[in-house]
Assembly symmetry: C2
Homo-oligomer: 368 residues x 2
Amino acid sequence: MFKVLDRASELERNGKTIFHLELGSPKNYPPGRIINKTIQSLLETKVGYTSPAGLPDLRQRIASYISNTYPFVTVKNVAISTANLLIFQLLDMLCDPGDRVALFLPAFPTYFAACNYTQMRIKSVVLDSNKGFILRKKDIDRAFESKPKLIFVNSANNPSGAVYDENVLEYLIDKAKRHRSWVISDETYASLAYKKEFFSMLNFSYERLAVISSFSKIYSVPGFRVGYAIAHESVIEKLSLSSSTLYSCLPIFTQEGLVQGVSIFDEFSDFMKKKYRITCRQCEQILKKAKRISFTVPDSAFYIFVNIGKLGLSDIQFSNRLLDTHGVAVTPGSSFGCPEYIRIAFCGDTKELKIGLNKLVYFVNNLT
Amino acid sequence: MFKVLDRASELERNGKTIFHLELGSPKNYPPGRIINKTIQSLLETKVGYTSPAGLPDLRQRIASYISNTYPFVTVKNVAISTANLLIFQLLDMLCDPGDRVALFLPAFPTYFAACNYTQMRIKSVVLDSNKGFILRKKDIDRAFESKPKLIFVNSANNPSGAVYDENVLEYLIDKAKRHRSWVISDETYASLAYKKEFFSMLNFSYERLAVISSFSKIYSVPGFRVGYAIAHESVIEKLSLSSSTLYSCLPIFTQEGLVQGVSIFDEFSDFMKKKYRITCRQCEQILKKAKRISFTVPDSAFYIFVNIGKLGLSDIQFSNRLLDTHGVAVTPGSSFGCPEYIRIAFCGDTKELKIGLNKLVYFVNNLT
């Protein structure tokens, strides 16, 4: 996925104007208090080490916030780490090479990459595009046929934008309990669900469940590289040891900045949801003008997963030609396990987004 | 090693005054231009993603700086990552579980931890404490008896402060070539060698050599978590892919800050060497007053590795009792594979250091 960014950036350095619709790197202004506090920490020279489990204050704030809804969550159930790295850390900790790991397509590329890195055997179940890639009970049945040691769930989903139903997730957790499978519920986009109410897997009591999330998307600070995991105390202890071994700790100043974020989580989330809902509608209006492509309007966040299967180009060909001829960067669907698709991210600069989308429509409608 | 910090921090939160001599977390003021540029980047909202291989500008600056001495080094030989994580990434990339990895004791704890994490078999060779833990040819012979797939070299050394001789390192690289072993040369403390001239393994042409280093120690910014590797282009490509999978990229703002550091590297290194040399002498004067302990004056950096074998306490007992009774935190030698030792870091606040050392001397001289 980062290959597109690298290539687009190289073209950019060579003077070409690039419209970035490829990465989920929000270009909104992050809340001032997060940036200000980060700067204040730097000015106070807080540039030393902190605990591998995360800055104690940040862990405590997250635990307090979450325990408003899920009272059993304490600071001992929270570990801070980069959300992307948490996927690797948990896989590596909970499984052994050769174990079966189930996931649903389309899926976030790091799931594949981390599974390959840790030598897992992937059982992938393709969701039904006609149903907007929603998760259904029969998909879960198919996933569990392989008796997975671990299963990934990603609602709200990247790239499809689908938010899964409570009764379906309950069905999944019951199956997982019966098979004693681990569940990683990636809820990174939970707080950006604007079209359908989000249901967290924290509602279920299951000791083999780890929920991961990130501050990147909600506060538009992906470059902070700070996320967290909520899990059983024993899992958090192991995660902390893993972080200690791998990278010692995350910076103090970014974590102190994000402490300021936790207190404005609800209001900021409401604000961002409204914003993305509006932008989503604007994207729909533009994309509708393109012939022979199709897409489902997302329930959440800022991706549109577009079917380009009728255009006679592979996703890679499509992405490369669009980048070369119109300077528009999108992510090929094969990164998510769906080669007939491309992913558009609409979290960037709105003006750039609109020009980029119109160029994409022009490109599609003029393909011979 | 972080357990001591966590325990000391907890005592501190409970109101106890703690003298921190445990971690190599320099408490000097980092160069203003690094902090200022980091802040400027934050103010410019540079909080998105960048290349997994590192910020292109930072890679280029490092390559340019190093190529002044080693002209064959280009940007393609440089990858940015957290130095601690680089140890894991390289081990994991270059070896398979069960492979033999050689290292010399005392050794930086992450070598053991990363070897255990990646399921390597460790062949450790204890260096001669009477020779100040300097590396000798016969130690190298013993290390290669196990036909290691990879060998760690760490000059200037943490914790011993020893800087290894050119002819000995040449002997090592010849052996490595003969056995086709990988060499990770951890040169994190290279630029802080004040008592003996440092010799880099970059002087040797060997495609299975990876040199790692960090900005943490020289610029007193360990919390930035930014380091780099110099290696063959093919290794750097794999490292970049590994970083992409594991954590996507490091923050842009910390990397932009450090771009400012590269241009002042030489003068700042001279300044810090003078400073640490003076502090080292002051520490010697205080520690000499303690009976029945011994230590070698370091060639470099800011650690003193103290033999406490004659005191009738294990290193863990010594460290815990010193922390509980006098509030002085030191690192037990068993973290480095040498249980009869403790490590003192003298990079902290100088006043705190002196009080802490005097308390340690009092503690030692009043042990019954």
